[in-house]
Symmetry: C2
């Protein structure tokens, strides 16, 4: 702590304040982990505890104000934030609301995320109480924060590159980790340990599946069913380093691969190649979707998209869908994640991580093998 | 999947519907992971992805209705929920809202958590749109869901007992895992691996600290500073088994312990003994707080409480504070977590997990040693 030099946070603040001037916001108001960390560098797993709300105010000029429970004081003092206002929480009678009313007293128009992918991480009743006690309008700041966070700095990209390399090193050990007869939950546990051994700080996300020639879905926890010859095993991991995520998967055939699985895998690999060719600054997410979809007559409807942004969260804006008109910009870190339905209830998904540049995209994950690996 | 027999979920539903009748709710509306899992058994790490909202409706009679993105269809079909309504997400133009309007059409009074410890895990703009399109009032259902979830079933307690045993087994290996000269982040990594090896599914939470005779706070990620002779090392872990958490810590002196650290540790251990004597059905959280506080003239103000509920989340209601009047009931699973300030910027915390019964509480964590262990 902090994960970046002070200048990184000052640059973020300056960009936010420029955008606030255009949008006409007197202040931004945040309650969520990623936005806290983006502006302050405050990083802790303590967000796992739902008890206490945390508040961050970005004024139209000057430095951010942290209005936080005193349990976070010591850690917040290690960041560049100087204006830290504390209350002893939990205190249901006044869970920071008086401090917020004071801090936001002069604001007339306050931006806060209310749109796509946003959450209000405080009691709704307290938000209503705050709104009632201010002489201010709350307006949606989703576009503002989305546009800032979508484009990563070189320092952020370096971290994302490191965690993707750790993920690739862990997947490279698949042949020694996974085997026929191994319960799926044991395979998952072995892979989590390997990710930690390879240098990941945490493994907040590991899902996947296994089944004859494909799997049923892509978000399940593992069963204890042993891996069988002919199964396709898929693991999809979101491991972290200094709070930045990788998010990609790999498929492995256990002992042998049937023709349908081999064919699905090849189609997904080729679709990803088409995606890599299309992933250019200036193209839209819709263009990127079409480039991949055109290779995949049996694209799965269930996942709902062919990839997404990546950074401080496992998934971030934008979504690679047919209708998303977000224009790709250098510095955006994305996943390409096409999926196909092999037969009813049997699917396959393939995922890579990359960064958009002025030219060809740079892969952050080591490119998957072109043919379904058999282990 | 599912983690419990159907009867467990049916019992939860029946209790909820009894409470709904008393509270006058036509439906309950949930957007959050713990409530989803409580009523349906739907368990996945996919909640890490903020992109898609998930909605659960509990009607005043009949079974719950899941209004969810199609990526979750296959997993939800493995639960006891029969009424599953799907949309292909992400779809910012209609992120499940039309389906919700249809499902809640006949409700006039809808309960949803708006109070202590609650979060709205959907865009506020969509919530406003939903509210605008219903002929219904939304009212706070925090007390209802809190009263249900606070008292654990025997099946839940069995899982909590198992994950606490895993935590205790991992801490028992401290002597082989931690040593002078070891960077703190390496100690954390070794402990996470040990928790997984001992049988934890995941380690969503591991925080702590180390410093000469005490540490600065209790929510920090680890630095890479090597452990030094005389340091007190503290690790506080929330590991999970089938989605249920342990949450306790242990302190270890590296090589030697100074008198102030030994004395603080003994005081915390004695305060916990007093807490164990006071943790009886019929007592209040305030009583429990006083029993511990009376032993601790130097109690730390920062943490804000001396323990809390435990279950599907790392921390749950209630809070053990001076003013909390929640009455302890058999089946409540709690942490006792007193903390002291040794000197400015140097503190110590001590934590155990237990279940309230008709008689003496049952410890779920193996009781810490009465004197500060030196390793």
């Amino acid at each position: 702590m902090p994960d970046f030099p002070k200048s990184e946070y000052q640059t973020r603040l300056a960009k936010a304040q420029q955008a606030m001037e255009i949008a006409g916001f007197d202040a931004l108001f945040f309650t969520t982990e990623a936005e806290f960390r983006y502006f302050t560098g405050f990083r802790t797993l303590f967000w796992q505890s739902p008890t206490r709300p945390w508040f961050l105010i970005v004024p139209k000029s000057g430095d951010p104000i942290a209005v936080i429970p005193s349990i976070g004081a010591e850690l917040m003092r290690q960041t560049w934030i100087a204006d830290i206002r504390l209350w002893s929480a939990p205190n249901p009678a006044d869970e920071g609301i008086s401090l917020l009313i004071e801090a936001l007293r002069d604001a007339r128009r306050i931006g806060t995320p209310m749109g796509e992918e946003s959450t209000l991480r405080m009691p709704m009743s307290d938000f209503e109480r705050l709104r009632h006690n201010l002489n201010a309008e709350f307006a949606d700041a989703t576009t503002l924060i989305r546009d800032l966070r979508m484009v990563k700095s070189s320092a952020e990209i370096a971290l994302l590159q490191s965690i993707c390399a750790i993920g690739s090193q862990a997947f490279a050990r698949a042949g020694e980790l996974f085997h026929q007869g191994q319960p799926l939950d044991a395979a998952f546990r072995a892979f989590k340990i390997t990710l930690l051994q390879e240098g990941a700080d945490d493994v907040p996300y590991l899902v996947g599946g296994a089944g004859p020639g494909g799997y049923g879905d892509v978000i399940s926890p593992p069963s204890n069913t042993p891996l069988a010859r002919g199964d396709v095993l898929m693991l999809d991991t979101g491991a972290t380093l200094s709070g930045y995520f990788c998010d990609f998967d790999r498929n492995f055939a256990i002992g042998q691969a049937d023709a349908a699985a081999q064919s699905a895998y090849s189609a997904l690999w080729q679709a990803t190649e088409a995606g890599l060719l299309a992933a250019r600054a200036g193209a839209t997410c819709g263009d990127l979707f079409q480039a991949m979809a055109s290779q995949l007559p049996n694209a799965s409807e269930d996942v709902g998209r062919f990839g997404h942004g990546l950074g401080m969260q496992l998934t971030e804006w934008p979504s690679i869908t047919a209708t998303d008109q977000t224009v790709l910009r250098p510095g955006m870190v994305m996943t390409l994640e096409p999926s196909v339905e092999i037969s009813p209830g049997r699917m396959m998904v393939h995922e890579e991580n990359l960064v958009i540049t002025e030219g060809a995209p740079v892969l952050l994950s080591n490119r998957a093998a072109p043919e379904l690996p058999v282990i």
